[in-house]
Symmetry: C2
Subunit: 327 residues, 2 copies
């Protein structure tokens, strides 16, 4: 198994991607990694680390796509970037998957363009983990498809179902359709039609509401990209907002330093599931290949998890199952 890793993407490159790759090959002895990025910088980041030299290669991709660059522009104008070359290698069969913590828009555009769509898939989608009190759920779509038609929502559910089962290890994932009420007849025309289509899916539990997300009433939350994107960013903002509110109370109640420190450390741990920098990347589903994207701030451990998830996707032949499920 050989995974191409973007060593020129994210907020902490090449350091974090390089360290994540080393962690991954040390954990999986059958794994090789190709690190793509400006050669000199990547090799410098590697030097001094102890790693199996025969399982980590460096490929020189001198062009760097910035985190804020316009996606389609960047992909077109930088053919020698790590994103374009890494996905190209994967498309040609020189790697079994591609992972990056870089510019999500550019990754999405390049993945769809270079890898193409899977047979029968209307639109590739991006899924995201969402913390719940029971662990993590999968929200799909998380921002790729803003105007989702009923058939697309069905396919998001079908693809999310397979990912939750095969990669997240949930035996029979509960798939819920995000809506304004539980009853079948609730919601817009689009949501009503999507409900009808989703009924064919094993594990479909019907409509779920906003209150059912954090409480983990489903494993897969199906929604359009506007709802998913707004909820994703809202979720990311919870820890800071709650810390601000709690700090206000701590000040008002004049807690001593020891008490305040204890509360802060409790909070830190309770909010750990909301730390998107530790999550091991999320997949583009529906593309003809394996392409994972991580948070820009991904830690080395997050990059490692992303690489190992890409391996799992390749090993379980997830795309064959997706083609069958949307047929």
């Amino acid at each position: 198994m050989k995974i191409a890793v973007d060593a020129a993407g994210g907020d902490h490159y090449p350091g974090n991607p390089v360290e994540g790759a080393i962690l991954a090959v040390n954990e999986d002895s059958n794994l090789s990694v190709i690190l793509l990025g400006p050669k000199k910088a990547v090799e410098e980041a590697l030097s001094g680390h102890d790693y199996p030299k025969d399982r980590i290669y460096v490929h020189d991709s001198p062009e760097v796509i910035g985190m804020e660059e316009s996606p389609s522009q960047a992909v077109k104008s930088k053919p020698r970037s790590s994103i374009v070359e890494g996905l190209g290698m994967h498309q040609k069969g020189m790697a079994d998957g591609f992972v990056s913590a870089g510019n999500t828009g550019a990754l999405m555009a390049a993945s769809a363009f270079i890898l193409g769509r899977l047979d029968g898939v209307l639109r590739p989608t991006i899924a995201t983990f969402f913390p719940t009190v029971k662990g993590a759920g999968l929200m799909i779509d998380a921002g790729a498809n803003l105007d989702a038609k009923p058939e697309m929502l069905f396919q998001f559910g079908a693809m999310g179902n397979i990912y939750a089962r095969d990669i997240m290890g949930i035996e029979v994932p509960r798939v819920g359709l995000l809506n304004v009420g539980e009853e079948k007849e609730k919601g817009s025309e689009t949501l009503k039609k999507a409900y009808h289509l989703l009924e064919a899916l094993p594990g479909f539990i019907g409509n779920i509401e906003g209150r059912d997300i954090l409480s983990g009433q489903a494993d897969v939350f199906v929604c359009d990209g506007i709802t998913g994107n707004i909820l994703l960013k809202f979720g990311e903002s919870i820890p800071d907002a709650l810390k601000t509110l709690l700090m206000g109370v701590i000040k008002k109640k004049q807690l001593n330093a020891e008490q305040a420190g204890m509360v802060a450390s409790l909070l830190e741990e309770a909010f750990a599931p909301f730390d998107y920098q530790r999550v091991g990347g999320v997949p583009f589903l529906g593309v003809n290949g394996i392409s994972m994207v991580g948070h820009g701030g991904s830690s080395p451990v997050a990059v490692k998890n992303m690489i190992l998830n890409a391996v799992k996707m390749a090993e379980t032949d997830i795309n064959k199952k997706i083609i069958a499920s949307v047929a």
Copy 2:
């Protein structure tokens, strides 16, 4: 000023509406209240309380609309319910406004049907308070209009702007359009067109993202009813979810009872802004009258606040300003 109050709606009727009415007339010496509900039950709830007898009337509305009843069905089949009779009194000029903690759907249907729309308003809307670290914002629409066209989103912004200014007391409310990115060209076709229309609004600050809600980057959050409803219920679920996560950590760290108690009381206070039972109701905007709806679990203080907000809406002649703003 005379407000009609539903004494047969909510989870704690007639007790809480009756107590809320008494608190309101005691606070505002120019205020009279008409309590609508099954006469005997309402009078029993009043007895024993000390209140100005010449400013609280009981009107017998023997039919009760349950919290789970199908809205349009209930409104049609129960002409002698407190909701239908209270709104009818207001429409006839026998009361200056109507407030209820009852069945939201029934209230919405009856308000639109009995009061009608204001001139120029495309669709009446329901707004909701949303807690932020800076106080409360106004989310509009909160579930009344699932498929919102650009012109409707503009009107939600215009109406929310006036409510935030005149009732919430924010001098120049910052109006933001909920979207997937900040840039003007982001989002669906509907959102792009809405952005263009909203630019005419004083205080429009452009697109805001999911992360800008809790942090209070705007005072008025404009969105369609699906997004608003999902976010509203998501927000309501935050305290319980966070308590569950924190209690898990407290158990793991084996805190003693005193420490755990202190953390619990801090949390309680920090989460107070999320307590929707204490919020003083939210308005239907765009109807030709004043109609406020409260959370089913509204406390007496919440009912009081709802009544006083209705008074404020009548006094500031909010509907005239709305007609001017959407023209």
